[in-house]
Structure formats: C-alpha cells, structure tokens
Amino acid sequence: MSGILDQIEPLKAAATEALRAAPDLPSLENAKGAFLGPEGRFTTLMKQMGALPREERPAAGKAFNAAKVALDAVLAECRDRLEDLAAAPKEPTDFTLPGRRRVLGRRHPLTQVTDAIVAAFRRLGFAVADGPEGEDERHCFDALNTPADHPARDSHDTFYLDTPGRPLLRTHTSSVQIRVMETQAPPIRIIVPGRVYRRDNADATHNPTFHQVEGLYVDEGVTVGDLKGTVEFVFRELMGADTKIRFRPHYFSYTEPSFEIDFSNALVRKLGKDWLEIAGCGMVHPQVFENVGYDPERWSGWAFGFGIERIAMIRYGINDIRLFYENDVRFLKQF
C-alpha cells in the first residue's frame, strides 16, 4: 500500500511544475484544476486513501496535508506574480510624461503678500481693521492734521465722487485710524490692509488703485523704541532675517516725530543699492489725538504705513505695477 504514499511526492513535484509553468491567470486556473480540482490528479489520489489500512491512514493524511499546504503556497505565489503581470500595462509606463493634474488655483500675489503682512502683525497681537473706501474730508485729511490748504495735500491727488455724503476716495488707509479711534477707546492695536486711490495716470510705478497697510498702536507709554522694534520684527518676517532697517527723519502731518523707513537685504544689494525706501511712520501727532477725543497727555502711540505693491514688487522682482491689475493668468500662475 506504500504505493499511494510513494506517489505523493512525484505528484506534488509535477503539480508545482505545472503551476509555475502557467504563463497567465487562466492557465494557472487550468493547472490548478488539473491537480487540485474535484477531478484533479491530486484529489483523485487523495480519495484512494480510504482504501488504506486504518493504521496507515494517519501517516498518509499527514503526508497529503503537507503536500496540499505546499501546493497552496505555490499556487498563491504564482497567483500574486501573475496578477501583477496581468495588472501591468503592455508597455511600461513612461514616468517622464506629465501627469493628469488636478490644478490648484493661485491666490493673487497682492493677497499673498497682504496675508504675510497680516500674519506677522497678528503674532504681536494686532487685529485687522477696515473702513470705507469712499471717504469724507474729515477722516481722510482734516482729522489727520491736513487741512484743505495744507501743502502736504499736494502729494495726494484725490478722486472726488458725485456723492456729497462721501465725497472722495480715500488716498491712504490712515483714514481708518480716525474711524477706529472715534469708535474705540484705547488701547488700540490694529492693522488695516486696503485699497486706496490717487489720481495718477497708470505707468510702471503708478496705478490709480493700489493697496496700503496701516498699523496703529495707541497705549500708555508707547515709545519710538517700540515702533522701531515692531517695524524691525515685521520686516524681518516679511523680507528675511538678513533685513536691516534704517529710520530717517521725515514729515507726515499726522505724526510727530515722523520717519521714513529704508530697508536693506541681499535683494536690495542685488539691485545695486544700499537702501530702499519702504514705509513711513511716526508717533501719533497730539493734534490727531485731540481730534478724536483722546488725551495726548495720557496716551501715546505710533502709526505706520506702506504700499503692498511695493513690497510685492521687491519680494518677487516685479518691475511693473500694472501687471497686478492686468491679471494675465501666466502672471498669476507664478505665485
């Protein structure tokens, strides 16, 4: 009766060979049927086990079982291999081809720069504030210590509107200083990004519409040193850690003392310059405090403002402000 047992190994070897030889999944299934199917040779041999004497059956069962496990493993291995083969394309994929994109849009560069500025200020506790773009003389000029015949108005060529209630377009975001101080008590800590308007013909450095950011801090004991520290922090956040800041005396009607801010970094030096003017600032003029009903003896503060386009132009190396407003998609997609 040892005949059956003797047949197991050769049959297992044949089955293994047949399985391994299958070139694809259907052939593998055929080979499996030929050996392990209900009518398969291995199954048939196994059925003969019933004819063995009772005492030989456990050994035979064990042998059959081991062979079956081994064949199943071979089958699984072959199946995995042939499945991979079946899944692969006929020709290998050219991974250098461009993929099918799900395209993300881009935020406008001015938005990105504004967000960066806002983020830097918010780290110091500033809240974003806002005010109307259609303004009146009081908020845009008078309360900022720039009455009608003031020479400082020369640089603010103003657009006027046919609406008597709001007769002009704000020429700077400083108007929001007044609006906020009129409605909130100190301390004040705001930044105001927004659109402003000047009656300049468009050219490479002018657009009648442009953006500014205004910062205002009013509290007890605020100093020029605090202003400088804040400006340095914000510009290092924006323009890189190597940024150097220089303050120069200047004049604005609503701050006293007033300063202009120059900055320098690798970008500026690449332009062949030592310094680039970037912002104006100063300590809030006591007259402005009086105009909004704050006591200048108790409160002090600083304000500063700068052009967002200018920052964006320096940051990205853009040489024509009109690009921001033309919105050529080839331009927008670069940011």
Binding site: P98, R107, F126, I190, T209, R246, P257, M283, D328
Partner: protein, 824 residues
C-alpha cells in the same frame, strides 16, 4: 531744492566728503534725490608760462620748452610756432582730457610720452583744441597756441581764469512741506552748523550811504494786510543792466536756473541763498497817479481784472488774488509772478527792489486757481521767514550795487502793519525721553535745541513736586522755523539731532488688539482658499471702471467720479463682473484661452447721497474644462454652465451655506443668454450665474462661451453656518432601486425630487440622478431621466418586500404627479 557742495561751504565749514554729506543730510530728514558731480570745465587745464623754448634735436618744426605750471617746471614738446619764452598759455596736464568736440567718440587723454625721442609732460593748447572762441574772451585769434593775457596768474585753473565754475557736486534735495527753511542754501547750512558745531557764516550786508531819501521817491500802502503782512522796498538808481559775472551765472546754472541779467540774477541768487523771494521792478515804470510820489499799493484784485505776467500770459483775476499795483495799474501778481509792464530790461536804470511776506494760504490759493507755480509762489505758500525781508533786501541791494553799479537811495520802506508774533514753546524733558525711549539729560536736550537757534526764555518749576525730573523750559522759536508749533515738534528736533538711527529699538510689546473686521478678514481669506482649491486663480481688478461697460448694471445708482482721469475709469464698480470681463479680454488678446478666475472685492452703489460698499465674489469661466492632457476622449471638452454651478455648489457647501435654490430667470437682455438667481431658503438673494451673450463676449474679444457668476459676500457671510455635527455611520446595508422614465421637458429635476418626497416612501435615504438623455427613441418634447433611490433603515436590514412596497409608492406618485412614463 538744489544746492552745491561749494555753495554750502560758503556759509559753514565742514570737511565731509560728498558721500558723507549725502548721508548726513539724509539722516537729518533732507532726502537726497540726486547727486550730480560736475567735473567743471577744462579739468586739468591751467594757466602756464613758457620759461624757455629750444629747437627739438630731432625735428625741425618742433620745439622743446620748459614750462612753469605754477607748481614747478616741466618739459613739453610743442609743434606751434606763434609763441616765445615768457608767454602765458593754457596747458593741459597729463592724465586729463581735452573737451569733446563734434565727431569725437572718446575724449583725447594727454599722456606722458616721447615725441621724436624727447619726453613731453603735457600739452600747450590752441583755442581750437579747447573748443573756445578767443575773440569772445577779448584775445587775439592766433594760428597756434592761445596766448593769454600777460596778467594771467600762473597756476590758476583755466576755467577760473575764464570766470567759469570749477568742479562741484550738485545735490537735489527733497524738501518736506514742513521745512520751508530748507528751500535756501543758508537754511541747509544752518543744519550742518548745528550738527558740526561750526559757526554759520551769514554774509553781512553793509550798504554804502547813498543819495536822497526814499520817502521822497516812493510810498507803499498795504490795503490787504491779511494777505500781505509785510512789504519792504528799496531803490537803486543808475544801474547798468547787463550780463552777470561768471561766478553768478555758474552758481545759477549749476542749480538749474538760466541767467537773465545781473539784476534779475541777483534776485534769484539771493532767493536761493536766503529762501526769501524778491522781485525787481523798473522803478521808472511805477506811476504816482494822483499821489505825491510813485506809490506801491498792495491790494486785492477786482473781480474780472486782467493782468499780464512776465511770461506773457493774461490772467483773469478775482478778489481772492493779491496784486502789487501802483495807483494806475497792477504791476505784479503778489508773491507769484511779476508783470510784463514793469519788467527789468536793458533800458532799466532805476530798480525798485521788493521783499515781502505773503500769507501762505493766499499764495497757495492764487497759485492753484491760476495754475501758476513759480519758485516764489512755492516758497511763499510753504511759509518764508516773516522777519527776514529787511535783511534780505539789504543783501540783494548790496549785490546789485556791486554787480550793476548805480547809487542807493537812502533808507528803506518797511510796511509792517502787524508785527509777527514771537512763538514760544514749553518743553518737558521727561516727555522727550518718554516718547523717544531715551534717557537724555536736560542739558543735552537744551544743547540740541540751542544749536538750532532756539533760545531759552523761561524756566519754571514743575507743577508737581518731583525732584527727579527737570523743570519745563520755555524756548523762543526763531522766526524761520515756521514748523515748530508745539512740544512734539521740539521732541522731533531732539530726535533728529540725537540721531534717529541711534534710538534703540525695544522688543515689540504684545498687546491684544480688537476690531470687528478681524474675523471677517479670515472669512474672506477662507473663501479665497476654497476657490483656489477648486482650481480658480484669483484676480484683482480695477475699482475704477467705465460707466459705458456696465450695460445697465445698477445704472441708476452708479457712483461716478467728478474728476476722472479718463472715460475708461469714470465710475466705481457696482459689480465685479465688468472688471472680470476686462481681465478675460486682456487674457484673450494674449492667447490665454482657458480661464477660471475669481475675484473677492468691494463694489459701490449710491445710497442716500452716500456710498454703500459691499463685498462681492465673482467667478468667470471660459475655455477648456480641465488642464491640458495628452490622452482621453473628453480632453478637449469646454466648460459649461454645470461646471460653474457645480463649482459654486461645492464652494457654498464648504463655506457653510445649505438650502440654496437656483431659479432660472426669464430674460436678462443686458448680459445673459440664460441665467439663474441663487437664493437661500427660496427668499434671501445671494447672487446669479449665467452664460454671457455672444455679442457681449465678442465686445470683449471672447469667441467661445463665457460663464460668469456673482455672489453677495455680505449676504453669504451673514447666513453662513459653519457648525458641524456628527451623525452615526449606517450600521445596516442599503438597498438601491433605479427608476428610468420619460418626462416632459418642462418637468425640472426639482419637480421630480419634490414628487419623490411627496410619495413619503418609507426608509428612503437618498435620491440621486444619474442620467439625462434626449434623442434616439425618446419622444420629441420629452427627456429620459434616471434616478437611483437608496433605501436604508437605521434599525435593521430591510427586506426586499418592504423596499419594493415603498418603491412602488414612489413610482406611482411619479406617474401621477409628473406624468412619468416608466421605462424598464
């Protein structure tokens, strides 16, 4: 304001290099906008004297000379024949270049070299080589070297010998409106003096005694003291008007002024020097009218009065304008420009010299209304020194006497009805330190202010008894510092002189700010993030648009500009759509065909005489649906309305808006082929979307279909619900039943959905449309639609029988209410 390095050095000693001066002025608040180095004419050319002249050993026509250049002797080989030892000639030193002549590409630089074996260290020059006309200099035209006046000083720079300026550096300075005193060379020198501690040397005017008494020759009457608080006049008779000397012409020309004649040049020079504008009249053209003597009347113009200024232009005046007149006629637009009728000319012999103080606001108004801006009006409108008129008059008179001759008429008329108030400002030292963040000692602060000419007039005890702080000090402000009005102004002066750069920065304080807009800013940012995530690029359009481009959008309430720059930009946008269309056009013209853009921005409409500003969101789509790809059947598919709607649905859902309705609008002839209103809960209007009419698109150079949408962001934000809640995931399987049916074209998806809902089928979880088809086998006027209905219970697995029963109800209801023909 332009000045030069050498000019400044006339008034104050300093040894800064030109670059250092730039830096110093900048850090004082006088921004240097331009630095122009002038080499000076004839650089390297000096007056030299021939000491010996001998024949060249190797050449018949050349001579070897020893020449004295003022510093020593040098050997020069020369080819000219017209000179001898002892002659004085211009000589150019090695390393210098001859002036460029027509046709020269590069300057000819003189080098040390051997000529026929003999070394030559320079070149003696002919008039041609120097490019000058000897006759105009009073010299003989020679064939050969230019032979100079025997009295010429050996070693003198040739330019100086000619009376022309030497090398200098011209600074173009940006003067801020608060510092009119910087509109003068002395004003700038004064700051340098304060910084260096060196003395300011103001030229002292000492007038010779003259003839007669001015009162016998002139009277001044000020009828408008509100516009002209002070008028000072002097007379000089018998002058000879002629060209100015070289130094004066050079000074004026370096700072960009044209030389006119010696008298006018003096008035301009003194204006630049002192900041006080002056005017010279031809005295003999001033009438006495009925008065005893010629009389200057300072008065307002009569409405409609005409006046011709020096530049030949006629102005029609109003009573806002100030005239300098005699009893018969006007002779000048006070503080702005003189009149043609009394202009100083070659025939003028007697000069009436005016120095006056005009009120800034009056001059500003006159200059603006007449569109006439002069060096004088510019200075007056910013405020000149009201105390300077008499001194400046003396300085100018002295220079006129020096340069144009003549005799002074003794005395001066100084009409000064209301003397200017002396300004005093009290300063608290602790306030200086508190604001600047410094710890300056009181003496330092006083020292800075004293260096600027502020004088301590009073020290008074502090109101509070605190020994640690200094007493407040009252300073008298010099009359030329019209900008110093209060304590803060003095603090700025201290900061400037201390050095703004030296003020230490401190770690920024953290303080919590607050404003209602703060959260709004984040919401707008979130909207932008979502929209870019959906593949749109963000645009930022112009706020100013053309009224003509609005095509009826908010036509009645558009806010117009009163002073537009052009018709392209004469209105504030009442909608973002026209601006987006402009942007599409810009892209179309540059062959950017596939565009998906959005803009988040403000729009403006009139409301009760004011402006209502609102935030909007607009989207525009045109061209291909997806990014270019190299395979696939639908790769060339263009966008359509459903792309736009789907994009908006996705955006609105993520932005926190549910329960929207999209209602087709009948007609919108201005813009759309087809459009729909978007509403919340069927009543709150949120916006619109639609396909732009081809004729509108074409007007923007757009050929393919264009889809736009605009949403009211304010309404969106007001109705936003961003709360999120968890719902348990289903524990039991769903059963799907499909319905395919024909319905009339007029039956909307919404109607079908409503019908399904009305059937109230048990356990119906969701309904999804998965096919709409028209054409083959579908009867005309009908469409084939297919829906998947998903049934599920939260408590148990449903049986086929109960799902079938529920589904039958739906089918029956669809047949009945929307006339559906069910397909198998």
């Amino acid at each position: 304001m332009k000045t030069t390095l050498n000019w400044l050095k006339d008034y104050v000693a300093f040894d800064w290099s030109p670059e250092e001066l730039t830096e110093r002025l900048t850090m004082l608040g006088l921004e240097v906008e331009g630095v122009d180095r002038r080499g000076g004419d004839f650089a390297g050319v000096v007056v030299a004297q021939v000491v010996t002249r001998e024949k060249h050993p190797n050449a018949d026509k050349l001579s070897v000379c020893r020449v004295n250049d003022g510093k020593g002797e040098r050997q020069i080989v020369c080819g000219a024949q017209n000179f001898q030892a002892g002659d004085k000639v211009p000589m150019i030193l090695p390393g210098s270049a001859l002036p460029l002549k027509e046709g020269d590409k590069e300057p000819f630089v003189i080098k040390v070299g051997k000529i026929r074996g003999v070394e030559s260290h320079g070149m003696m020059c002919s008039s041609e080589e120097l490019g000058i006309d000897p006759v105009s200099l009073g010299l003989k035209k020679e064939d050969g070297l230019l032979i100079l006046d025997p009295k010429a000083a050996v070693g003198q720079p040739f330019a100086e010998y000619l009376g022309r300026g030497g090398a200098d550096v011209v600074y173009d300075l940006e003067v801020t409106p608060n510092r009119p005193d910087f509109n003068s060379v002395i004003g700038i020198a004064r700051e340098i003096a304060a910084l260096t501690g060196n003395a300011l040397k103001v030229p002292a005017a000492t007038l010779p005694s003259g003839d007669g008494d001015i009162a016998q020759s002139l009277a001044v009457r000020i009828d408008a003291p509100d516009l002209c608080p002070r008028y000072t006049a002097r007379l000089i008779r018998g002058v000879k008007v002629g060209p100015s000397p070289g130094w004066l012409r050079d000074r004026l020309e370096k700072v960009g002024l044209r030389s006119i004649n010696n008298v006018v040049d003096v008035t301009n020079f003194v204006m630049l020097e002192t900041g006080q504008p002056l005017h010279a009249f031809d005295y003999r053209l001033i009438a006495s009218g009925g008065e005893a003597v010629p009389t200057i009347v300072v008065r307002r113009a009569v409405d409609g009065e005409k006046f011709v200024t020096l530049d030949g232009k006629e102005h029609i005046l109003t009573s806002d304008h100030l005239l300098i007149a005699d009893p018969v006629k006007a002779v000048a637009l006070g503080g702005v420009m003189g009149g043609r009728n009394t202009e100083v000319s070659e025939q003028t012999t007697d000069i009436l010299l005016e120095t006056a103080y005009f009120k800034p606001s009056g001059i500003r108004k006159a200059s603006k209304t007449l569109g006439l801006r002069t060096d004088a009006s510019y200075r007056f409108e910013r405020g000149v020194d009201p105390e300077a008129t008499e001194q400046v008059s003396q300085r100018a008179a002295q220079l006129i006497l020096e340069l144009a001759g003549g005799r002074l008429v003794n005395g001066v008329i100084d009409a000064h009805p209301a003397p200017t108030e002396i300004r005093q400002i009290t300063l608290r030292h602790d306030r200086v330190n508190a604001l600047l963040g410094l710890t300056l000692r009181p003496e330092e602060i006083e020292c800075y202010l004293a260096s600027l000419g502020l004088r301590v007039v009073n020290r008074r005890p502090r109101p509070v008894d605190d020994a640690a702080v200094a007493e407040p000090i009252t300073f008298q402000v010099p009359s030329y510092r019209v900008d110093l009005k209060r304590e803060a102004d003095l603090i700025e002066e201290v900061a400037r002189l201390y050095g703004v750069d030296k003020i230490p920065s401190t770690t920024p304080r953290y303080a919590k700010g607050q404003h209602a807009f703060d959260t709004r800013y984040d919401e707008l940012a979130e909207a932008r993030r979502l929209l870019t995530g959906l593949g749109l690029n963000e645009a930022q359009g112009q706020t100013l648009v053309s009224k003509g481009s609005l095509r009826g959008r908010s036509a009645d309430s558009v806010v117009l500009l009163s002073n537009p720059l052009s018709g392209d930009m004469d209105a504030l946008r009442p909608s973002l759509v026209p601006g987006l269309m402009d942007i599409l056009r810009h892209n179309a013209r540059r062959k950017n065909a596939d565009i998906g853009l959005f803009e988040v921005g403000r729009v403006f409409v009139q409301q009760n005489g004011g402006v209502r500003e609102g935030w909007r969101l607009a989207v525009a789509l045109t061209g291909a649906r997806s990014a270019g790809f190299w395979s696939g059947a639908d790769r060339d598919a263009g966008v359509d309305l459903m792309d736009l709607k789907g994009l908006l649905e996705e955006f609105l859902e993520h932005f926190g808006l549910r329960g929207l309705t999209w209602t087709r609008r009948e007609g919108d002839a201005g813009w759309y082929v087809e459009s729909a209103a978007i509403q919340l809960g069927g009543k709150v209007p949120l916006g619109e979307l639609g396909q732009v009419q081809p004729r509108v698109a074409k007007s923007y150079d757009l050929r393919g279909p264009v889809y736009v949408a605009e949403l009211d962001l304010d309404a969106l934000l007001a109705k936003r619900n961003t709360s999120r809640g968890y719902r348990a995931l289903p524990a039991f399987p769903a059963i799907r039943r499909d319905i395919a049916m024909w319905v009339a074209e007029s039956i909307t998806h919404d109607a079908v959905m409503q019908a399904v809902r009305q059937a109230k089928a048990a356990n119906l979880e969701a309904v999804e449309i998965f096919d709409v088809f028209r054409g083959k086998n579908v009867p005309e006027g009908q469409k084939s639609v297919a829906y998947a209905l998903i049934y599920r219970s939260a408590e148990r697995t449903l049986t086929d029988a109960e799902v079938n029963a529920a589904h039958e109800k739906v089918v029956a209801h669809l047949k009945q209410s929307v006339g559906a023909q069910i397909r198998e």
